[in-house]
């Protein structure tokens, strides 16, 4: 196998032999022929297509349903590595919830001067309608997807905290299902921690966040924008696996101070709504009046304690990319501890000194829109053409506060299977976290996204990324 120069490869490290977490897998691999593996890989694709595990691409004509390419070489994390990672994630998620509670109540962190007031006051992701509202159980982020990248044996960074409506968990589950079907022998040889409890745990975790006045078994529903949404497969998958109803805005209305869904026998109340609709579209009476996706009046029901909305409205302020740069301070402020997981050094272009630096070093940096997601609207300096850099420079100068910049990280690689055999590609990791008054639950593993193009650092599925099964080994 070729090794990408200068990058940490998770299978081989710096040497010729497999790192310990991969040794069992590599023993197995040594007995396999590339041709057979490639055939298996084709089978996996057929399986995904038949099962309909697809995502919709906006604006693409014709075949607008695509498969996310699946690579059959697993990404393997040792139990010890995972223990440290999950401690770090838990600490961070705790801090985020404390931060959100504070920001919508006493705003101690602003008073202390650790986070500048403007950053909140002028931020679109901050929802004044949430001020003074205590969500049931004081949980804001019921589901979090923390994006983590690795650059060395012990070097892990948090790249983003997805605290709004992180997606991808269905791929984590289906990837494992696929691997179990294709290579059962691997799982009898290597002890991998299971992920299949996720839907059951999610249901429990959401039910534990039901409003106080709910007595009896809480009714949970998943709110989707509809079948044309890019993540619709995941919405229906999760509803199906949790045994929850999958509803759209037009199935819901306010009845007797509760949110109720239209059934064949009349309106039935819902206690917990796992919504996969953005804040802005949630309630046309309170937010975007044009929205057809939400439920008129749901915010009023919410404020009066009639329903749990997961994640809570207004959580976006916590995963805003400008706030991100303050995460080490935020973790310390609320937990009294130093952050276990590092932040990527970040220049806030709203600050003149930083902007000057960023403009001088555009070709070395990654510049991102503060509110952007999905890998759109960003510049990867080292990979961009002169013209792209020049065009981006104009946008940046016109609205500096819209951008942050980070060094180009040397993302670790994990091999993928190509027709000629294994070849290293860059990866990231999105573990999935559930929060309820009962505690924080992190599914061992998560979604590993991989940039399929040689040398590419962009792992987003909308831009040619694929996924891998992620194994956390039993110790």
């Amino acid at each position: 196998m070729d090794r990408a120069g200068g990058f940490f490869d998770e299978m081989l490290g710096g040497g010729e032999t497999a790192r310990p977490p991969y040794s069992g897998f590599c023993d197995w691999l040594a007995g396999e022929e590339t041709a057979r593996l490639n055939k298996k890989s084709k089978e996996a694709e057929t399986f995904f297509r038949r099962t309909g595990i697809t995502f919709n691409v906006y604006g693409a004509e014709g075949a607008n349903e695509r498969l996310i390419p699946f690579d059959i070489v697993p990404r393997i994390i040792s139990g010890r590595e995972w223990a440290r990672l999950s401690r770090g994630i838990e600490q961070r998620v705790r801090a985020i919830n404390a931060f959100l509670y504070d920001i919508y109540h006493r705003q101690e962190i602003l008073r202390s001067g650790r986070v500048p007031v403007d950053l909140i006051a002028d931020n679109e992701a901050f929802l004044p309608k949430m001020i003074g509202v205590a969500p049931p159980g004081n949980v804001y982020t019921h589901i979090v997807g923390t994006d983590i990248v690795r650059t060395g044996e012990d070097e892990f960074y948090v790249l983003e905290d997805n605290a709004r409506t992180p997606s991808g968990v269905s791929y984590m589950l289906e990837n494992r299902e696929t691997m179990l079907q294709m290579f059962p022998e691997l799982f009898s040889k290597i002890r991998v921690q299971p992920v299949s409890d996720y839907p059951k745990n999610l249901r429990r975790s959401l039910a534990a966040c039901a409003p106080e006045r709910c007595d009896g078994k809480p009714v949970v529903a998943v709110l989707t924008p509809g079948i044309h949404n890019s993540a619709y497969f995941e919405h229906s998958f999760l509803a199906d696996q949790m045994g929850a109803e999958l509803v759209e805005g037009h199935d819901l209305r306010v009845v007797d101070g509760k949110i109720a869904m239209r059934t064949t026998r009349g309106y039935a109340p819902i206690d917990v709504l796992y919504r996969r609709v953005d804040d802005d579209f949630l309630d046309p009476l309170n937010f975007n009046p044009q929205s057809m996706l939400g439920v008129p009046g749901i915010m009023d029901v919410y404020r009066s304690g009639g329903i749990t909305i997961a994640n809570a409205p207004g959580t976006g302020i916590a995963d805003d990319k400008a706030i991100y740069s303050y995460m080490p301070e935020i973790v310390e402020f609320y937990t009294g501890e130093t952050a276990i997981l590092k932040n990527v050094p970040t220049w806030r272009c709203s600050e003149q000194d930083s902007l000057d630096y960023v403009l001088e070093h555009l070709t070395e940096l990654v510049v991102k829109e503060v509110h952007g997601s999905g890998g759109y609207g960003m510049l990867v300096g080292p990979a961009a053409s002169k013209r792209e850099v020049a065009a981006f420079r104009e946008k940046l100068v016109a609205k500096p506060a819209n951008y942050i910049a980070q060094p180009t990280l040397s993302l670790s690689t994990v091999p993928i299977l190509t027709r000629k055999g294994l070849a290293p590609r860059h990866v990231d990791l999105r573990p999935f976290v559930m929060v309820s008054p009962r505690g924080i639950n992190i599914t061992p593993g998560g979604l590993t996204r991989v940039a399929l193009k040689e040398g590419s650092l962009v792992v987003n599925s909308s831009q040619g990324g694929g996924t891998k099964d992620t194994w956390v080994l039993e110790e």
């Binding site: 038949r50 099962t51 079948i227 229906s236 109803e245 999958l246 199935d251 064949t264």
Partner: protein, 313 residues
């Protein structure tokens, strides 16, 4: 169960029934065009009429022949009732109601869509037509088989079945409506080979030519064909059979929910009009009038069901 989900299931199975019926109509039309020496235009025109899309067809095509009609009915995405349009709509509904379907049903639906998308990607040539039509029917049969084999007999199943039989009744009635003149007593053509071919086409359009022969041997008459398709409760595509099935499935819902609606009365009225009737009485009031009234009542029943079970709010 969500009203939207009930509606999604109901329409999904109406769509599948319709695609199968369209394939069967094209099959019958194609056979006529091969066996008749005269121009095949009339026959294709009556196929077009049966599917109620004459205007749309004439906007797209100047000529009526095997190539234009099969293309329009099988794969033209601008025709909302073409097999491909319908199968796509059915699959969209399946995605909508995914949480109500077993994995087997969903995969059969998805497979049907993938297979037909490929088979109908290019215009179908005459020599491929029989195989393509067989494929459409087969894919639809696989979906039905998965439904029968894996789904609980509960409200979900009931709504799927109600959709199936409403659509099927509508389809058989439309075939009779377009061809009613062939079945009328007439001094012309009586006993001629033209009549025989026409009658056989009708039977073929509802996959009933073998069944008819089992029951009637060589005694082919307009009256007995009409009786068979309208009143015979042994034939799974007859109006009486479909209406009875609708009543049964609506009754399951009423038992399950402990609540009856206006649609229950409407469905029972439909059945009793068929049960208490004879083919002579139908010919006395007029076959055409009888069929037209049935199509109207059947449609009204569908709308009543949508309303009673809150499909759309």
């Amino acid at each position: 169960m969500l009203g939207k989900t009930a509606g999604g299931l109901y329409w999904m199975f109406r769509y599948f029934e319709r695609s199968e019926n369209t394939a069967r109509l094209v099959d019958a039309g194609f056979r006529m065009s091969l066996t008749r020496s005269a121009s095949d235009q009339d026959e294709w025109m009556s196929v077009i009429q049966t599917t109620s899309i004459r205007e749309a067809f004439e906007e797209r095509h100047d000529e009526v022949n095997t190539a234009t009609v099969t293309d329009f009915l099988l794969r033209d995405m601008t025709n909302p009732t073409s097999v491909m349009s319908i199968v796509e709509a059915a699959r969209n509904n399946a995605r909508l109601v995914r949480t109500a379907l077993t994995r087997e049903v969903w995969e059969a639906v998805n497979e049907c869509w993938i297979t037909l998308k490929d088979a109908l990607a290019r215009p179908v040539r005459d020599r491929e037509l029989p195989a393509t039509l067989a494929l459409i029917r087969q894919q639809s049969a696989l979906v039905r088989a998965a439904l029968h084999g894996t789904m609980l007999r509960n409200e979900i199943y009931d709504f799927a079945r109600i959709g199936t039989f409403l659509e099927r009744a509508d389809n058989t009635a439309r075939i009779l409506d377009v061809k009613y003149y062939v079945l009328l007593p007439s001094v012309m053509h009586v006993g001629s080979s033209l009549d025989n071919v026409q009658w056989e086409t009708i039977l073929r359009s509802v996959s009933a030519q073998r069944a008819y022969r089992w029951l009637n041997a060589d005694d082919i008459s307009a009256r007995s064909i009409a009786e068979f398709l309208i009143l015979d409760r042994r034939l799974p595509r007859s109006l009486a059979f479909c209406a009875t099935k609708i009543v049964d499935n609506l009754q399951f819902l009423a038992d399950d929910y402990g609540e009856r609606h206006a649609c229950h009365d409407a469905a029972e009225a439909l059945v009793s009009r068929l049960r208490d009737n004879t083919v002579d009485a139908i010919f006395d009031i007029g076959l055409h009038e009888f069929i037209e009234q049935f199509i109207r009542d059947n449609n009204a029943l569908g709308q009543q069901i949508e309303q009673d079970y809150r499909f759309n709010g």
